[in-house]
Subunit: 184 residues, 2 copies
């Protein structure tokens, strides 16, 4: 039977805190519940609210990050100002790269960062779980599509790709016509 | 049979890049290899090199983070200066809390952050993996003790706890004697 890791001669050592400061008790179920709420918020940001997300990620601003909250909302924000920080921050600087790539590529990049952050924050709250509990948590998380997979399967992705293709075709046609005009 | 997620009408869309810019091809095996090297480096920082780690984490400095590298070294450093960042950064500000808690507690806190970062960076490099590959990767990762578990089972943890206990006893004794002296 698996037991929680113990240090040698644990009986003579200061008791290991069961729950760490400023952190609620974290079970597999509560961590997974938080994961699903944050994930749904991030998927909404990248699909239904994609236009609003794009507008909030102004490259002229300071480094911003996209965060899914446990109340189901999402926000583009500056990193937490208080130190030590209470939990891992999402990847910064999503706004800086916004205009340096095609929109569908940028959104996919953000989606990848969302997935990594969701895993990060879930396991940050799991230091008291034993190996079998961690495995159960991961299997629950992995039973859902990733944010990236959901985004790539969305109508938003399809729509943006088609728009970008149309723009490319239009520009290409314009260029061709200009060449013909100059030749005439 | 499981297949990679595809977006609707994928044939008419721009090809999804198989490997993203500035990132090497990432298989389960290569990600796990990197994980083990970084993990070993972080464990060494928290155990054998604990004194050096403590000294490098000067609370008077800017926000610092502990990083395990794929060449087996570890370093306490400022966050990456280039944006967009090439990969997730470890949690910042480990130095700020160094003198605000007992040393064994601070090291345990850092160990928890190391575990979360190791998971974070591993899955950041895994956007091309399908669900069964992610599961295999996680099982390989989870077959090893976490950094926190390894630290709590180490002689370093035992030694620090004993030292802190001795200091507490000494201070308590000193205080008791002072009280006796004042009373006399």
């Amino acid at each position: 039977m698996e037991t929680r890791a113990r240090c040698p001669a644990a009986s003579v050592l200061p008791a290991r805190p069961r729950h760490r400061t400023l952190r609620p008790p974290c079970t597999v179920e509560s961590i997974f519940r938080n994961f699903t709420i944050r994930r749904a918020a991030l998927i909404r940001a990248l699909t239904t609210d994609e236009e609003a997300l794009f507008n909030k990620c102004d490259p002229g601003m300071q480094l911003l990050c996209l965060r899914g909250n446990t109340d189901g909302s999402w926000e583009v924000k500056l990193p937490e100002s208080c130190v030590p920080i209470s939990q891992p921050e999402p990847t910064l600087s999503i706004n800086i790269s916004r205009d340096k790539m095609k929109r569908h590529e940028w959104l996919q990049e953000v989606a990848v960062q969302c997935d990594a952050w969701l895993i990060n924050i879930s396991f940050y709250f799991a230091p008291l779980l034993i190996a079998s509990e961690r495995e159960r948590l991961f299997n629950m998380i992995n039973s859902l599509k990733t944010v990236q997979e959901t985004f790539l399967a969305s109508n938003t992705y399809l729509r943006i790709c088609h728009l970008e293709e149309e723009v490319t075709c239009f520009c290409s046609e314009l260029y061709t016509n200009q060449v013909v005009y100059i030749q005439v």
